[in-house]
């Protein structure tokens, strides 16, 4: 058993539901107890869908367990087919349904429903939401794209886009952005799946020259199968960020047999490059960022942070064990310890230890950051309703980079404010505790639950008191308070490390400045 107050991912059947809800003409019959229909809210409320997701639940109750839950499942299948007339049916069980061992796949096959039935085997007690989505998509692609005859001649400029799903982070606008980008290169986008595709569309997948995987967490198994079966090359760069978008386009052109573009031909298509170069952004240099989220979004964010915005990555991690290797490789590039965990308490500890000036994470990190009074931007699922915005807000491509520049810089205190805070520290309105006017309007004066967690000492500077056998003199402690609050934790830690390494037992003002000179911020 595992103690969880928060989970980064839902169960695997929610992943399957995301595939069903993304597509047209596909219906999902889910063997699940009464109450599991809560998952409908994810789509109707968070994503604000105007229609119910195409899912029929058996919603069995305790009294049904003594009779035949298999009969309930059969009836649900028949009624769903009759009422919704889908092109195909996927069937499976939720975690409790799995325990009943009614074998939804076997039952549905015996019903002679007159349409393709794809059984899903999603081990709820082992796997999670993204795995469930990837497995479901793979099974559906196999079911509809197997045994196709690839056309004799295939337009080399044709491709499919694989991976976008319902409840994906900014997926709606990413698809628009990337499609526009590809069309500007003369590439013909044939099928986008699963988002908006029908089973019949999936059958046309082998007709295109190559596949673009925008979300490896969801489309990798399907794309690998299409590569093995039909020799379809995969474009795997996730085009989040300017550098990644250029690499992506180069990879697309190579896959399409087009000559590479001269370096610089893409210049001027975004504003991030100039905005980050303009002197107003100089103060962003080497700001420490902690990054956590879906693997591909986290890796992309680390690259943007270092190469395009001039930040320093002080922590990098994901909750997806399946993508641990990608995160380890990236973490090695930035010289940080990779963090692979789905335990949010571990992530919180890592954020406290890393003392970032900005947190880029999921909805969960937003709240950890709020507690620690750190600026934060959401870069990945799980996200809440505010990250399914009405406005055009892609993460991918050139406009995506513009959106990213705005949303990541926004929570930081602005340059002049930062300078003035450093110069005049006792202003009654404009001080450490007031922070920036736009920052955390509802942040409590002290971390809300500090009292409830006696193990942790979260003082206002976000630092955890570390007893390393050295003590601060009162003067030095006062001087430390003059360091701007967002780097004060780091200054404390550096000074203590410096003192410990030199065997200094009492930290004075001198020690503080010695350490400052030693580390040079």
């Amino acid at each position: 058993m595992k103690l969880a107050m928060w989970t980064y991912e839902g169960p695997p059947h929610v992943g399957a539901m995301r595939i069903a809800a993304s597509m047209r003409g596909l219906h999902y019959v889910l063997h699940a107890p009464q109450g599991d229909t809560y998952a409908d809210l994810l789509f109707t409320m968070i994503e604000r869908r105007p229609s119910r997701p195409p899912v029929t639940y058996t919603t069995f109750q305790a009294r049904d367990l003594s009779s035949s839950t298999a009969d309930i499942f059969r009836d649900a299948c028949r009624e769903a087919v009759e009422r919704f007339r889908p092109e195909a049916l996927i069937v499976g069980a939720s975690c409790t349904g799995e325990l009943l061992q009614d074998d939804p796949g076997g039952l549905a096959r015996t019903l002679d429903l007159g349409l393709p039935v794809i059984p899903l085997d999603l081990p709820s007690y082992q796997r999670k939401e993204h795995w469930g989505a990837a497995e479901t998509f793979y099974q559906i692609v196999r079911a509809f794209a197997a045994n196709r005859q690839r056309p004799e001649t295939i337009d080399p400029l044709s491709c499919n886009i694989l991976g976008p799903t319902a409840l994906g982070f900014r997926v709606r606008d990413d698809v628009t952005e990337i499609r526009r980008l590809l069309e500007s290169e003369g590439i013909d986008v044939r099928v986008i799946a699963p988002l908006g595709a029908s089973p019949a569309d999936l059958a046309r997948l082998p007709d295109a020259a190559f596949n673009i995987v925008l979300s490896p967490e969801i489309a990798n198994p399907a794309a690998q199968w299409l590569k093995r079966t039909y020799g379809m090359p995969i474009v795997s760069t996730v085009p989040i960020g300017i550098g990644a978008t250029r690499d992506f386009l180069a990879e697309v052109r190579a896959a399409a047999g087009l000559p590479p573009r001269p370096l610089g031909a893409q210049a001027g298509r975004d504003r991030l490059t100039w905005y980050a170069r303009s002197v107003d952004s100089t103060y962003l240099t080497r700001k420490r960022v902690f990054i956590f989220g879906e693997a591909s979004h986290a890796v992309a964010a680390a690259r943007i942070a270092t190469e395009e915005l001039g930040f320093t990555v002080c922590g990098l991690g994901t909750y997806m064990r399946e993508f641990a290797r990608e995160i380890r490789d990236a973490a090695a590039r930035y010289g940080v310890e990779p963090l692979i965990t789905d335990d949010h308490l571990e992530v919180e500890d890592a954020i406290i230890a890393a003392r970032p000036e900005l947190v880029l994470g999921t909805q969960m990190e937003r709240h950890v950051a709020k507690r620690l009074r750190l600026p934060c931007a959401v870069i990945s699922a799980p996200a809440h309703v505010q990250d399914f915005p009405a406005r055009y807000a892609p993460q991918m491509g050139y406009e995506g980079a513009n959106v990213i520049f705005d949303s990541w810089v926004h929570p930081l205190m602005m340059g002049l404010e930062e300078h003035l805070l450093q110069m005049f520290r006792s202003d009654f309105e404009f001080n450490d505790h007031a922070a920036a006017s736009h920052l955390h309007p509802h942040a409590p004066a002290a971390p809300a639950s500090a009292a409830a967690q006696p193990v942790r000492d979260e003082s206002a500077d976000g630092a955890t008191a570390i007893d390393v056998g050295t003590g601060w003199t009162a003067d030095a402690e006062r001087e430390l308070k003059k360091v701007p609050f967002f780097v004060r934790g780091k200054a404390r830690r550096n000074t203590e490390a410096f003192a410990a390494s030199r065997g200094i037992r009492s930290i004075t003002v001198e020690t503080l400045y010695d350490a400052k000179a030693h580390f040079a911020r």
Partner: protein, 452 residues
């Protein structure tokens, strides 16, 4: 409006031949429709969302799956981050395969939790569908843990699973477990039993208002169940009278009666009429002088009427359709019909405790269709066919209905908002009126645009 439904063998509809026997002896609504099919409702776990706020020194540990944890964080929205007093012990493959002893594993999780939250005075183990299907004995686990953690902490258990409970029924099971725990500890008690137990979680402000009214009526020895603290004393004995403040408390009522308490039968305290009737039944049971009763409630009753009147023109004559959610539906429908002049099309309820809601059903017009349970697709068909002015339904259906051009009121809000009592009667009316007001505002704006 209410066409007959063809009898269908499976997953279908059968018409209950028994008419509900009303206490007042008046005519009952024509019939009760019993349904069995897909239920679009929450499970009992969701009641933890308000219970953990009401009882501040209790912690609710769900023993379940990742789905349970996901449900809780999806349903609790952003509130989950302000250090919630609930969590999930997620069962894993090794637990199910018998590689790990479930009870040892649970003990480990509890140790870890209590180390993190030493302030907890009562730990509540909450059963879920998976824990019940594999027959994990949480009652036994609670007994064992209770023995180990006495006297610093109490440990109790109840079921909030979807297979056993619908939404508010989770609270019912929790209160019944509290009573069982109190009974177990009773022999050591010397305090005298409560004279009146008010059962059902109420907003703090509502509880305070009722407490003031009881004092004004001269009724003392009143205990609210649940209390605000796990250590609140609760003693029930043969002299105890109890009154339900919520309609979903079948198991709680049974537990109270087992302890010797007897029920005061009343309408539920929604709206001016409901609150008056509820208080009158209590006053009657405690032999309060009628003149004194009238004097105490005169002003608040008048205020309730005034506040409700502000919204009457929005709801008067409007046709309202209730999907099942919390069992509050019959009382809400009665209030809408009688105090706001609405016409009720269908009242769906996940479960009807015949005896407890008899008074409510007796006051509904005879042409109202009362349905128990759900077959959601058929109910949606009925709703579309009736084309009501306002649909009261859950969040899974609300936006899809709005997208069809219909007006909805999401029902879960009734469980999270102070709606009982005289002073909240206007707020309750506003909850129903607001979607209609909003639709009118936005439509007006759209019309202006078209004309300009």
């Amino acid at each position: 409006m209410n066409k007959p439904f063809p009898p269908v063998a499976l997953n279908g509809v059968c018409i209950d031949p028994d008419r509900v026997q009303g206490l007042s002896g008046t005519d009952q609504p024509g019939r009760i429709l019993r349904q069995r099919g897909q239920h679009e409702v929450f499970c009992g776990l969701t009641s933890i969302i308000w219970l953990h706020r009401k009882m501040q020194d209790a912690f609710f540990l769900i023993v379940g799956s990742r789905t349970c944890a996901h449900l809780m964080q999806s349903a609790a929205g952003v509130m989950i981050f302000s250090e919630p007093r609930f969590a999930t012990a997620i069962m894993e493959e090794r637990d199910l395969a018998g590689l790990a002893d479930m009870h040892d594993e649970l003990d480990g999780v509890v140790e870890r939790l209590l180390a993190r939250r030493p302030d907890i005075r009562m730990l509540v183990l909450v059963g879920s569908c998976p824990s019940e299907v594999i027959k994990l004995d949480l009652a036994r686990a609670a007994e064992r843990l209770d023995a180990r953690h006495q006297p610093a902490r109490r440990v109790i258990a109840y079921s909030g699973s979807g297979i056993e409970t619908t939404f508010t029924q989770g609270e019912d099971n929790f209160l019944a477990a509290l009573l069982a725990d109190a009974a177990k500890r009773a022999p050591g008690r010397t305090d005298s039993p409560a004279r009146l137990v008010v059962a059902g979680c109420l907003a703090d402000v509502v509880e305070d208002q009722f407490a003031r009214l009881f004092t004004a009526l001269g009724i003392d020895g009143v205990t609210f169940l649940p209390g605000r603290s796990a250590t609140d004393r609760l003693t029930v004995g043969p002299g105890t009278r109890y009154v339900l403040a919520q309609p979903y408390l079948g198991a709680t009522a049974a537990a109270l009666e087992k302890a010797g308490a007897s029920r005061i039968d009343a309408l539920f305290p929604l709206g001016g009429e409901g609150t008056r009737a509820w208080l009158a039944a209590i006053a009657d049971a405690f032999k309060v002088d009628p003149a004194r009763f009238e004097a105490v409630i005169a002003k608040p009753l008048q205020r309730a009427g005034e506040a409700t009147a502000h919204y009457r023109h929005w709801l008067s004559g409007k046709r309202v359709f209730f999907f099942p959610d919390s069992q509050l539906e019959p009382s809400l429908a009665r209030y809408l019909q009688r105090e706001l002049g609405a016409a009720i099309v269908e009242v769906g309820s996940p479960y009807l405790h015949r005896e407890h809601v008899a008074g409510e059903l007796a006051l509904l017009s005879p042409d109202v269709l009362v349905s128990e349970g759900q077959d959601v697709e058929r109910q949606i068909d009925r709703c579309r066919a009736a084309s009501p002015d306002l649909i009261v339904c859950g969040l899974g259906l609300a936006n899809p209905f709005e997208a069809e051009g219909r007006v909805t009121k999401w029902s879960i809000e009734f469980a999270f908002t102070p709606i009982q009592g005289f002073e909240q009667a206007g707020d309750l009316a506003e909850l129903f009126a607001r979607p209609l007001m909003r639709a009118a505002l936005l439509d007006d704006a759209a019309n202006r645009e078209r004309l300009s």
